[in-house]
Symmetry: D2
Subunit: 345 residues, 4 copies
Amino acid sequence: MKKSTRIIKLFMIFFIIGIFMRTSSILVAQKTHRFKPTKFYFTYDAKHEPVLKLMPGDTLVTNTVDAFGNKISRMDQKASEIVHLPKVNHQTGPFYVEGTGPGDTLVLHLLKVRPDRDYAVSTHLPSFGVLTGETYTAMLNEPLPEKTYIWKLDLKRYVGILELPNSKMEKIEIQLHPFLGTVGVAPNFGEAVLSLTPAEHGGNMDCVETKEGTTLYFPVFVEGGLFMLGDGHAAQGDGEICGTGLECSLDVTVKVDVIKGKTIYWPRFEDDEYIMVAASTRPVIDAFRSAQVELINWLVQDYGFDRWDALQLVSQVGVSRIGNVVDPKYTVVAKFPKKYLPTKE
Amino acid sequence: MKKSTRIIKLFMIFFIIGIFMRTSSILVAQKTHRFKPTKFYFTYDAKHEPVLKLMPGDTLVTNTVDAFGNKISRMDQKASEIVHLPKVNHQTGPFYVEGTGPGDTLVLHLLKVRPDRDYAVSTHLPSFGVLTGETYTAMLNEPLPEKTYIWKLDLKRYVGILELPNSKMEKIEIQLHPFLGTVGVAPNFGEAVLSLTPAEHGGNMDCVETKEGTTLYFPVFVEGGLFMLGDGHAAQGDGEICGTGLECSLDVTVKVDVIKGKTIYWPRFEDDEYIMVAASTRPVIDAFRSAQVELINWLVQDYGFDRWDALQLVSQVGVSRIGNVVDPKYTVVAKFPKKYLPTKE
Amino acid sequence: MKKSTRIIKLFMIFFIIGIFMRTSSILVAQKTHRFKPTKFYFTYDAKHEPVLKLMPGDTLVTNTVDAFGNKISRMDQKASEIVHLPKVNHQTGPFYVEGTGPGDTLVLHLLKVRPDRDYAVSTHLPSFGVLTGETYTAMLNEPLPEKTYIWKLDLKRYVGILELPNSKMEKIEIQLHPFLGTVGVAPNFGEAVLSLTPAEHGGNMDCVETKEGTTLYFPVFVEGGLFMLGDGHAAQGDGEICGTGLECSLDVTVKVDVIKGKTIYWPRFEDDEYIMVAASTRPVIDAFRSAQVELINWLVQDYGFDRWDALQLVSQVGVSRIGNVVDPKYTVVAKFPKKYLPTKE
Amino acid sequence: MKKSTRIIKLFMIFFIIGIFMRTSSILVAQKTHRFKPTKFYFTYDAKHEPVLKLMPGDTLVTNTVDAFGNKISRMDQKASEIVHLPKVNHQTGPFYVEGTGPGDTLVLHLLKVRPDRDYAVSTHLPSFGVLTGETYTAMLNEPLPEKTYIWKLDLKRYVGILELPNSKMEKIEIQLHPFLGTVGVAPNFGEAVLSLTPAEHGGNMDCVETKEGTTLYFPVFVEGGLFMLGDGHAAQGDGEICGTGLECSLDVTVKVDVIKGKTIYWPRFEDDEYIMVAASTRPVIDAFRSAQVELINWLVQDYGFDRWDALQLVSQVGVSRIGNVVDPKYTVVAKFPKKYLPTKE
């Protein structure tokens, strides 16, 4: 073999390894980072200094405090005296991911999303929630009575327990399904968005799907993506109608990855059962439309469906969940069952 | 025993039997009626002549034709040339239930809801559906292309099969879950409502929950209730986004009952898993609110929950489904898991 | 001239006169009908027996009672005890117009719309209006306090006067601009619509434009059109936010006409300043869209504008008013200034 | 008089003068500042460096470029190739006002708002506007055709002239009523908001009321207020339905003032006829509600009306305009006629 051939061969090997590393991040040493937050943000903003730099393939082990900054733990505490809207939803981060920038997709594999304590808090704030006049559905009524509910968490049985002294049923036990109420990247176009507000960058989607075992995809708008997370809920119903879930601090483990050159318009999720899109705007019908259109585009681009066939199939097997209807923008999650997808080549 | 005592005793026995009959309808001979429809209605209207009178406890075995009056069975047929909106959703009925009137609740146990043929039809009508300008979301765009999809139904394997010549996937098989798209009673206050429109009386809710095995509760507004049914779907995704499901004629068996003196404000459903409320209005958020408030009132009145506890619990374990977002009013179904209910005494 | 020619000539003359009469109604004796209502309707319904038959060109002199059936005249009367929603908005009529049917346009020239008494009533009903939870924006708040306001009407100075003992200002005087809150024709497709609800047939649009001096155009859906009117307001702000205007009985004079073969989709109005479309649906944005699209179509069809030029011009000189946001459907009026229209040939 | 007494007297005089200056700004020399912008912002953001510091009472003479950065002047130019949403609405500023901070109200007297050139531009962007599917009302339709309209401005006759080669009418002349489409202060809570988006801080309200002769009041959220302005329109219809008005660069003169310690929640305006509130959110009904509630609160707090009297009066004489329904949030302006206000003491 001539020297030049060998050089070409070597070059090709490195080239292939390079591509391989770029796409799968397997050959580089993948680190696990432990990060203990001490400072929290109330906005998603590209101007925030990153707290840590990660490589694609790295794993992050961290914590989040609850939406009230862990300041409420007793029934006699009033949220309206302790926190001041919209300065809630303390975010851990931002985390900078090396080698990603505008036009890419950031991938977060949620390996662990678990309560790190034995209680959760839910409040009825006086002018918050979908069944009362509030900031953006202003009314002249008197507000609802303020309430603080402390749920006991039994992490062995994975249930939440609430005493109900005013009801016929003395206590209730519900299954836990902890998730990140808020997770996303720095927004586009120089916007800084409240951690209370969901949008194209993710943020406060308050949808139960962002739980352990789900993979999240976010559009990347700035160098490093700058993802943050917080607002853990040990459980929550659809829509989060009173305005809060089982607010709880969390242990979180996330494996980070990047899809270079792949542009998406709304956060996408994937678990064993569904591919999903989470769109956030007001009114609900427009969040619904945005999620469906992004889901149809996904089916067309990645799975080879004709546009009108995709519309037909989403019409027949699509599942849609109302994420939240209490934040400054509402979130709808449109889902397509993976069992009906063609096998990807 | 004195004569007067015996008379009192006899009277008490009859009184108890009376109550028993009234509530459970067990002691009267319960009939099964077979009704083959030949004429169909396009409005829910107290002025329509009932086709049959039923007693509480009776069972009705009947058929519904599909939303197109069974007139479409080939891909080369255009719905826009064959049917004319809003004259679709041909209704079987109305059925008069003896002994019920305004202020009562009509109970329909859906014992059987099954396709009676081996194909279903779904269409993309040019100006219909939630992802295009249409009658009540008027726009200046050109309409979407009209399409007719014929799904083959394999009733043994209980799947629907669609050829997809324009997509990478050649065909798709989906599970069937047949349900009545439209079911309800004559509306209140002399209104006559299109069979295309859902409201307090039920009607075209297009929600997947009105399927075999579910019990439906409707407010009764006029003597006899005058229920009707139609618009069968062999399957449908949430929201019915293209405007049609797997439109199909059905074999239906319904057991009829009445709860005297029980007044409800929106249709309620119950199956093994959930108690549910289906509210219909525009926009989605208001249908959502109406369904949640009726569900909370239900929990308070029938299950002994404190009002604010009920709000807290629905916030944490409630499930909400978007029924339809294509009809003149949209439908949202709010659900509460029965496993979290107190045992009813 | 031969006899046969003369017969043909005579025939032609009669034929021409016939066409002329049909379109302009000039040659027939135009009658003025006086109608004193004794019975009132709460629905718009083609099944109602007409109270009077009119010829195109005829004039109708009649009365309407107020939305409460003239039953409230003192501040100590509570509307919630006297009327029961939705049985309000008592309608005078229906009036049958000869020679019109589906596909035509009914023309009502409002020659006189004036209060016939010296007071008007406005109420704050407990769960009605846009700034409180109500039937279709269901909430958990306590209702607003019920109020009955009696306005004195000074018909010489054409002002309404209200004492304000609880405010710094002791009384207020406002200009009157009386109008029909409700006016329309029998609806399409066999629907019967509450007199509380506006839609394609007109009905309870509650928009200030349906006043003396305005010409109204309605789509005709059934033989005779069957128009009705009621719900007079001596004055009202945009949106009718508390749910009622200055509710008042009225003297009304209407000249009736017909445009044969002209099909419109929403009520249209015309006064000295504007051509207008009133569309009614929920949410507001969709009523707004429907009104704009019908206005653009009007400009294209009757005034020779290119479709996109029409969009451009409505964008720059169009005026849009929120009619009502308290009825089961909301009404938006889109207006185009007549000074910018080409002279019609 | 003792020396100490004289010192106290002098001190008191200076103290009173100080208060007087602070509130009325009369005794300080009021400057007129001329500012020629060279750099423009696309976000409202407290982090932007102020370009100029003003004292209360000062006058600012400046210019704004149009929403396209003055880059479009010919019909053959396509906006979609020249600007990229949302990077439009170039803002002049921010201007820092001395002596104001959170909790105050900033006052802008619009002394002059006039086109500074002889043409204006309006475009139909392919996926923008309320009568087509767009970013937040996503649909599957094809977009509308892109158009660029160049309006000639005759500033002597104060009319805009458009040739209409495709319509029956060859050209149209409309009256000009120039206004600032976008004007506001730095937002609250560290948010940075697109210059395309209106909110509590003002911004892209696109309402015709922010014109010469109107006084604007904004809540102050950060030190100096940091107001900006731009997006001039020589004319515009209600709602700005195609997405653009007569986009035009402007000469602007603003007199600045401050009301210390007065907290408002939404921008307020005042002209000879009306006091007004402009609220911005989605959907329209919620912008409407927010504007009405702020207007009612204004009437109660500043004019001594009882809360329910205020509701009654706004219901009867309030005027409501739809500002824009094309921006990321919609704007509604609620107005109360000044002729019905008590004289302020």
